[in-house]
């Protein structure tokens, strides 16, 4: 049995597999024992309550999913009062995904989330930045770094910066987040996509464009991990289209220290368990005694050894 534990910033996870934000909730505990996961990641919480986007909010597109959910939620105060106690029942470290409209709102919310039971904050900086004309923080190094730096000043919790594929230079954004004090990077959020409904000749999603995830997105997410892992020394958590242990090993080899599984859980609700078992089987078959030895093994030079 290989050693599956990994270290992400200050945290040690029992295994490198966790859910992707927005595709997970305590409800999945009706399908399997959530204590088997390396970590738990909440759907993004926002400072204020939000209603979300018009329906249809999801559409199938070839080997993938388009979504425009719009981060509905009851706001951070109600989340701490009502949802956090539910999460506290589980054993794995709890990572709270946070989305906010300004850098200072990110800071304030990070401060509010610095409470017992929260192990790390994942900054969903792919959301629109109200101070930059609605462009996502993660589209440019400057605004991304500003959001992370503001949070860094407001919390002692580890901060994971979740990057966006919708940028011309992900490595630059990755470096900026590292310099601003991020403890890890999550790579990546969905990429903007579109589908047209031929019956109506209108976009298939109520909101028009949406985020593309699933197997069709995988080669792009894997490339982003490859680029970011070579740009920073903090750990990278790979995310995008992972459905099997083999997919996960590709991400680890490309430089990831851990992985998140999103849309695959919609197809096979126990996909995360299969990913854990698949990674373990790969390590056994190929003689890796520690899963962490896989991290970055495919990189041109093995820069990842130094990364925690």
């Amino acid at each position: 049995m290989p050693d599956l534990s990994v270290r992400i910033g200050g945290l040690t996870l029992a295994n490198p597999v966790m859910p992707a934000s927005g595709t997970f909730g305590p409800e999945l505990g009706e399908v399997f024992d959530l204590d088997r996961l390396g970590a738990l990641v909440t759907k993004s919480v926002t400072p204020e309550p939000r209603r979300g986007n018009p329906t249809p909010r999801v559409a199938e597109t070839g080997q993938g999913l388009l979504n425009s959910i719009g981060i509905p939620g009851k706001g951070i105060e109600a989340w701490i009062a009502y949802d956090l106690p539910v999460w506290r029942r589980f054993a794995a470290p709890l990572v709270v995904s946070l989305s906010a409209p300004t850098a200072s709102a990110f800071a304030e919310a990070a401060r509010a989330l610095t409470v017992e039971g929260v192990a790390a904050i994942e900054a969903n900086i792919s959301c629109p930045n109200l101070e930059a004309d609605g462009r996502a923080f993660a589209a440019e190094p400057g605004p991304a770094a500003a959001a992370i730096a503001a949070m860094r000043g407001a919390t002692r919790l580890p901060i994971w910066a979740k990057l966006s594929p919708n940028t011309g230079d992900a490595a630059a954004v990755a470096r900026a987040c590292e310099e601003a004090g991020a403890d890890a990077l999550v790579v990546a959020n969905t990429i903007l996509g579109l589908a047209i409904d031929l019956a109506t000749l209108r976009p298939a999603l109520g909101a028009g464009m949406g985020g593309y995830s699933g197997p069709g997105f995988k080669p792009i997410a894997l490339r982003l991990v490859w680029q970011c892992a070579q740009a920073v020394r903090i750990p990278v958590i790979g995310c995008g289209g992972i459905a099997t242990g083999q997919d996960a090993v590709e991400f680890l080899a490309a430089g990831a220290t851990a992985v998140q599984v999103g849309t695959a859980s919609f197809i096979q609700p126990a996909a995360m368990l299969q990913v854990i078992e698949g990674i373990s089987a790969f390590c056994t078959a190929r003689g890796f005694s520690r899963v962490s030895d896989l991290t970055g093994i495919a990189l041109p030079s093995l820069q990842r050894i130094a990364a925690e």
């Binding site: 409800e27 009706e30 399908v31 979300g52 329906t55 999913l65 509905p72």
Partner: protein, 266 residues
């Protein structure tokens, strides 16, 4: 939340297809051996079905179920997902995730219920009606369809005795005004203890109005595009009136069955 026991009530069941048969020109029925799932599912609940070749699962009401009985689905062949399901053959595997969602309320003390179904809505209501009869509750079922070829009275009740009223677009009998008069007449003839509907927003509005006026309880099963079907993604919300005011509830989890009067115009 559902009828199944154990700490992990929801599972992907690999059932063996035992019948896959076209019904009329546009519909199809599928029966599979999936004993644990079939025994656990309640009327109004649904399964999320893997459709060979399509990426996402497709939500489908359970049309037939019960201990020692095959699990059945009745559906309109609408697009690639349902076409793939219709392409399954005897002996093939059907991957059904379930049981999912909140089903209908059925009080054994009731004397009679009225069921109003349009199109494939009758698939959703069929198990309820059959379960009611087995509890000695009388069932009046008004079934609305495009034309007699689309009418699936046989698929709805099978050999179970019910009062059926069939209405069609082709002869104008399914016109809401006409159906409204028919419901009023039924309320006078044999006042139901509860009413149930599925399959048409227009008939839903109609039934809301009549049931409210007569002070009769009711429930409606509604549909919405789904991602996870497990309550994780918030894709499937519909505006529902609650004691705390209108809220976007998840059809896959707080539904697909809601209090009749709570479903807001859409």
């Amino acid at each position: 939340m559902d009828g199944s026991a154990g700490p992990f009530p929801v599972t992907t069941h690999l059932g063996r297809v035992i019948a896959s048969v076209p019904v009329g020109a546009r519909y199809h029925r599928l029966l599979a051996e999936a004993p644990a799932l079939s025994a656990a599912v309640e009327p109004g609940q649904f399964c999320h079905l893997l459709c060979p070749g399509a990426y996402l699962r497709r939500p489908m009401s359970v049309w037939r179920a019960g201990a020692q009985e095959p699990l059945g689905f009745l559906f309109r062949v609408a697009g690639p997902g349902t076409a793939a399901l219709a392409g399954l053959r005897e002996g093939d595997t059907l991957d059904a995730m379930g049981p999912l969602g909140r089903g209908f309320t059925l009080d054994p003390g009731w004397g009679r219920i009225l069921v109003l179904a349009r199109g494939v809505g009758l698939a959703t209501l069929s198990l309820l009606a059959r379960r009611a009869v087995s509890l000695d509750i009388g069932v009046t079922a008004i079934l609305s369809a495009r034309d007699p070829a689309d009418m699936m009275a046989e698929a709805f009740c099978g050999a179970v005795p019910m009062d059926l009223r069939l209405v069609h677009d082709s002869d104008g009998s399914s016109d809401p005004a006409a159906v409204g008069m028919m419901i009023e007449a039924e309320f006078i003839r044999a006042r139901p203890d509860a009413v149930f509907t599925c399959g048409s927003d227009r008939l839903l509005r109609l039934l809301q109005e009549i049931a409210a006026r007569h002070g009769v309880l009711g429930e409606a099963a509604i549909e919405q595009r789904m991602g996870c079907a497990l309550g994780l993604c918030f894709a499937c919300v519909r505006r529902i009136a609650t004691p705390d005011g209108p809220r976007d509830l998840r059809v896959c989890r707080e539904g697909p069955v809601f209090d009749l009067q709570s479903v807001e115009a859409w």
